[in-house]
């Protein structure tokens, strides 16, 4: 546990014109850690995820993956280094079948497979997220949770070193939520390193080792879930002007 952090975010800043969405944020994630990135709406969480995955370039500061600077790489290189993600608004590849959606994650990413290997692996992953045997279903006719599952399977297909889940649990009904939480717990038990942006506090409490709290682009707290949630800044950030 005292090895170098898998991910370190160092004084990262992102400005859109005059608006500073992420303001000199630092934090680290260790191997096999599951951390929650929380904060009120508009606090810069999704921007932070985009900065890590390479969808956006930081204005200043660096992001390192296992010591290597990734913040100057294009998104596809970062993906090849082993960062996989899901999206806040689920993004399925509509003209591909379910299994092809999963294979898409396996072919070009961190661990590459092609042909029959990729196919077999994808079947295993579909099974794992609970879509076993539904590889040929047209994705358009899938329910919302199934699409989310599919997206998770795609992210897992490259066997990533770091998995970014951007509000993966949002929009699920209570029973689906339970399934979703179980699925993430499973992943954690496999030893995956995960950062999850989440509004569902129950999930954060039951899943996360540690929590980073952001408000208006600034990191206001970082520590174990229990400690963090009782800090007065956090409470006022949530209960103050904006409500979660």
């Amino acid at each position: 546990m005292n090895s170098a952090p898998l991910l370190s975010v160092e004084k990262v800043r992102k400005a859109f014109g005059g608006l500073v969405a992420v303001n000199d944020v630092d934090f680290t994630v260790k191997q096999s850690e599951l951390i929650g990135l929380i904060g009120p709406n508009g606090s810069g969480k999704t921007t932070m995820m985009n900065l890590i995955s390479g969808a956006l370039k930081p204005t200043s500061g660096t992001v390192r993956l296992a010591g290597e600077v990734i913040s100057d790489m294009p998104a596809h290189r970062i993906a090849q280094r082993g960062v996989a993600r899901t999206f806040q608004l689920v993004r399925i590849l509509p003209s591909l079948s379910a299994i092809e959606n999963v294979i898409a994650g396996a072919v070009f990413g961190h661990v590459r497979a092609w042909g029959d290997d990729a196919y077999r692996e994808a079947e295993v992953l579909l099974e794992r997220v609970g879509l076993g045997g539904r590889g040929n279903v047209p994705t358009g006719s899938m329910t919302y949770i199934d699409q989310k599952r599919l997206e998770l399977a795609r992210a897992l297909a490259s066997n990533p070193r770091l998995l970014l889940l951007d509000e993966w649990l949002a929009g699920l009904n209570p029973s689906e939520l339970k399934i979703g939480i179980e699925l993430i717990r499973d992943l954690r038990e496999d030893g995956r390193t995960i950062i999850m942006v989440e509004h569902v506090m129950d999930a954060i409490r039951s899943l996360c080792d540690r929590c980073v709290v952001m408000s208006s682009g600034v990191k206001i707290a970082d520590g174990s879930v229990h400690d963090v949630l009782s800090q007065p800044e956090v409470v006022s950030a949530y209960l103050g002007t904006e409500d979660a």
Partner: protein
């Protein structure tokens, strides 16, 4: 994965027969119908090569004339000194390289910007070629006198068409092809699963550009006289886009469905109504846009879907299993 599955073998056999049959055309007619067929095969190659890139990426390129002209010029400039096959190879490389440069430069552009950019590019290349020729060769016309006749050109184009189709098929089953399908669906996802979107597009654009260049090279002897306005004729760019879109861009062979009927239709119009060609082509065109919104391929797909639906309904199979 085996080399070809059963369905693919069947398609390959049919394709082989069709190509064989097409290769016999010059023996049946050596006149007008052959010339019409040369035009058809020419546009089939151009449109298919165009669709290789534009189908999956949804980028509409109007640079066809630039690549075509470069191919024609490669032959025009070298016909007196180098053997024809070598010139064709040079044409492929030259237009491929140009496509590569354009591709690298235009990665940030999308949608209509790319459309206009490629249009501007074709014009720019034409202007620069003209200027260079005037400055350094002292003339703009080049003569390409060979012993090749329509039938030789037809056979060469036909062979090229076969190569284009095989390339297209190989690309489709390769990682590159898969990457392109993902890009066509969602570029953001493509990037985040580790696809170098820019590289994939550039490679494909180069392949497409090279084929168009070869087509230009093969056709150079047909026209005997090469000059910038005919070699870099922007009408070619537009016609290719239109025929390909009318056919459909979803499948490798879909553009053919645009090329064949529309070459013949336009030919019928210009044969029967020489004084109203523009007007009637315009009317035909708008009619097609309104009544065949998704191209001929769309029509076929609709028909198939309906057919399949009724079959499923009859058999009580849920639609989802399709």
């Amino acid at each position: 994965m085996s080399l070809m599955n059963e369905k693919e073998q069947r398609i390959a056999a049919i394709a082989l027969m069709l190509f064989g049959a097409a290769a016999m055309i010059p023996f049946a007619d050596d006149g007008y119908y052959l010339s019409l067929c040369v035009n058809i095969v020419m546009y089939a190659v151009l449109c298919t090569a165009w669709t290789l890139f534009s189908g999956p990426t949804h980028y509409i390129s109007l640079a066809t004339a630039a690549f075509f002209g470069i191919g024609t010029y490669s032959v025009g400039l070298g016909i007196d000194t180098l053997p024809f096959p070598l010139l064709v190879a040079i044409a492929a490389v030259a237009s491929g390289v140009l496509a590569g440069l354009v591709g690298v430069a235009t990665l940030r552009l999308s949608g209509v910007y790319f459309v206009i950019f490629t249009l501007g590019l074709a014009e720019l290349v034409r202007q620069v070629v003209t200027w260079l020729q005037v400055k350094f060769l002292g003339s703009v016309g080049l003569y390409v006198f060979t012993d090749m006749t329509e039938k030789h050109i037809f056979w060469m184009l036909l062979a090229l068409a076969a190569v284009v189709y095989i390339t297209g098929w190989l690309v489709n089953r390769s990682r590159l092809g898969f990457a392109l399908r993902i890009i066509g669906n969602d570029e953001t996802v493509a990037r985040h699963v580790g696809i170098d979107v820019a590289r994939a597009k550039v490679i494909l654009f180069m392949i497409s550009g090279a084929f168009i260049g070869i087509t230009g090279a093969i056709l150079a002897p047909r026209f005997a006289y090469v000059e910038p306005p005919s070699a870099f004729n922007p009408v070619i760019s537009f016609q290719v886009v239109i025929m390909a879109l009318l056919g459909g861009t979803g499948r490798l062979w879909a553009p053919l469905l645009g090329v064949i009927p529309f070459t013949i239709l336009f030919d019928r119009i210009s044969a029967s109504f020489p004084n109203h060609t523009s007007l009637l082509i315009g009317v035909a065109f708008m009619a097609i846009v309104y009544f065949l919104p998704r191209g001929v391929m769309g029509l076929i797909d609709d028909f198939r879907a309906r057919h399949a639906k009724s079959r499923h309904a009859a058999a009580g199979v849920p639609e989802a299993a399709e």
